[in-house]
């Protein structure tokens, strides 16, 4: 499978701060690659470097197995992007915006094709209206049309659901899945919501303060084997001692709270054993460890050991 994006030891320093620090990852052909991180994690900076808006301080970017710095124009012809907000020329119509950016991408497009693109994002009725009259959702859809008008092989979407209502988010998700499944596009999508990435991406990376924290297959990372169980009892310290002497000791996390990392299917047996040991249970909560890990990054309150580097 061809490597569409290959980032090696990429860093970007602003003044004294590293916005991106020694970041490496790869995106394969046909991937929907989730780029996850809280606000300020370095997602947009990385995407801007992929699109040559920002020059890296160090490191290398290869797109389509070619060095970006050496083959910029050739590579960017195959890339479509929506970077943060889909800002377009407000004083021009949707049709004119689409036409302008198609020409800038170096392709000849017919009026029919432009209208088809607008139809695909549900804006054919508003083709002649100025963009300043559009809602955020409509601008977002037009931004997607602009990103797709030159039929790129790689689509980069930076927080594409920002500012959208639930229906807009669902529409965007369906559009991304369709682009991947029906048209075979490779998509890199950034988000600060794990739930969003979980629904559409097949591979993902989590970055925090410019550093890679986790990268891998979404199915593997969200494997039920990595379920975090939080137990609350009348005597947590006593319960922990009992568990340490049992077969469950292996699964206990080194935390003050009583936490165990285990396969979700084993939870009923754990409850039976706890009751048998005489532990007075107040609650047993299960959540996926990756979600907890991501939340811990967001709230800056430590992290779950299972995914720590």
């Amino acid at each position: 499978m061809a490597l569409i994006i290959e980032v090696n030891h990429l860093s970007k320093k602003f003044s004294d701060t590293y916005a991106v620090n020694d970041l490496s990852f790869t995106v394969n052909e046909g991937d929907i690659y989730g780029f996850l991180g809280q606000n300020g994690a370095g997602k947009s900076t990385t995407i801007r470097m992929l699109l040559t808006l920002i020059k890296p301080t160090s490191g290398e970017i290869n797109l389509f197995e070619k060095k970006l710095s050496a083959h910029r124009s050739e590579i960017l012809k195959q890339v479509g992007a929506v970077i943060e907000k889909p800002d377009l020329y407000k004083y021009l119509s949707a049709y004119d915006n689409l036409s302008i950016f198609a020409k800038m991408s170096g392709i000849k497009v017919s009026q029919k094709l432009l209208m088809q693109q607008l139809q695909m994002v549900g804006l054919e009725e508003r083709a002649k209206d100025n963009v300043r009259t559009f809602s955020q959702g409509m601008k977002q859809r037009l931004g997607i049309a602009v990103a797709l008008v030159h039929n790129p092989a790689l689509i980069i979407l930076d927080e594409p659901t920002n500012g959208l209502d639930p229906q807009g988010i669902a529409d965007m998700r369906n559009l991304i899945l369709r682009l991947s499944r029906e048209l075979g596009k490779t998509i890199l999508i950034s988000s600060h919501l794990l739930s969003e990435i979980e629904l559409i991406a097949n591979r993902m990376i989590i970055i925090h303060k410019g550093n890679k924290m986790v990268e891998g297959n979404v199915a593997a990372l969200l494997d039920p084997a990595h379920t975090l169980i939080e137990i609350d009892t009348l005597d947590n310290a006593g319960a922990k001692q009992l568990l340490l002497q049992s077969k469950w000791a292996l699964f206990i996390q080194k935390k003050i709270q009583l936490q165990l990392m285990m396969n979700k299917t084993e939870v009923p047996q754990l409850i039976i054993d706890l009751v048998a040991m005489g532990v007075q249970l107040l609650s047993v909560n299960s959540s996926h460890s990756l979600e907890n890990y991501f939340l811990s990054l967001t709230t800056q309150s430590g992290h779950v050991e299972a995914f720590a580097n």
Partner: protein
């Protein structure tokens, strides 16, 4: 490049602010024409006061279309830089403000191409604005006031001069003067474009351009030898009004004007070359700065 230039011109043509300059020029010209039509005689009396005993001239004939255009250009070409800055200073900063700059840069177009196309578009806007000035200030004035020989009032050191150019010797001078003014105003466009790279909205570069033009114009008008020798030759504002040189007709030993001649063509040529050098330096600087710039808008 040609396709990009077409896109740029299309965008400029669709922006309402583009037409502010054309409306402003038309308004100023019409006010001048109205004032001179209503009371031009008083102006002419004032200007000819010092020579009324030695110089006879039909004062009604003196206020003709050619004379009107000269008077209007004298005033307008000082203000026009502001109108040029309205468009040129918006070139990059306007895109940054709208958020379209990042989309533009992520297209397969080099940053050098972007700067060159923006500069070409600003130059074309300048040419159109000067053509509009020619239409309103020259041709409309000729229509309203008629044609005739042209009087040129000139201050030369402590002396005042009045030059007379015959009607068949004027039109080429206006063509050359407008061409010179295009080059001079293109320097303003290039300066605005450079300043535009540093800002994320167009107000800053517009104000900065106007401030630089005002400060440099003031310095250009300070008559102190040390400034005359060491500063003025390097200021573009010292050459902005060089177009007037095309109306300073050459004279023979007896002081008679020589048709088709210029008093000091080498000085005009030198001014033009200095202005072109300014354009080259400003655009080169724009390309260098823009190529290094991180687009964070």
């Amino acid at each position: 490049m040609w396709k990009l230039l077409q896109i740029e011109l299309f965008k400029i043509s669709k922006r309402p602010r583009t037409y502010i300059a054309f409306v402003a020029v038309a308004a100023i010209v019409f006010i001048f024409q109205f004032a001179f039509k209503a009371d031009g005689q008083s102006y002419m009396d004032l200007m000819l006061q010092s020579v009324k005993d030695t110089f006879t001239f039909d004062r009604v004939q003196a206020i003709n279309g050619y004379f009107m255009c000269y008077i209007i250009l004298n005033t307008l070409l000082i203000q026009v830089p502001i109108l040029i800055a309205l468009i040129a200073a918006d070139s990059i900063s306007g895109e940054a403000n709208m958020g379209t700059l990042r989309l533009l840069i992520s297209k397969p177009i080099s940053r050098t191409q972007i700067i060159l196309v923006k500069f070409a578009a600003a130059t074309i806007f300048t040419i159109f604005l000067l053509l509009w000035m020619a239409i309103t200030a020259l041709f409309l004035s000729l229509f309203i006031f008629g044609a005739g020989d042209m009087l040129v009032f000139r201050s030369k050191g402590d002396e005042s001069q009045i030059l007379l150019i015959t009607r068949d010797d004027i039109m080429w001078r206006y063509s050359a003067a407008f061409a010179y003014a295009t080059v001079a105003l293109t320097v303003i466009a290039a300066l605005s474009l450079l300043l535009s790279i540093f800002a994320e909205n167009s107000i800053g570069p517009i104000i900065a351009t106007v401030c630089i033009v005002i400060v440099c114009t003031i310095i250009s008008n300070i008559n102190v030898p040390i400034i005359d020798k060491n500063v003025k030759p390097y200021l573009f504002t010292s050459y902005l009004v060089g177009w007037k040189g095309f109306f300073y007709i050459g004279t023979d030993m007896d002081g008679k004007t020589i048709k088709g001649s210029l008093e000091n063509w080498p000085a005009i040529r030198k001014s033009l070359l200095i202005l072109i050098a300014h354009i080259f330096i400003l655009i080169t600087a724009s390309v260098v700065v823009f190529k290094k710039k991180d687009i964070l808008s």
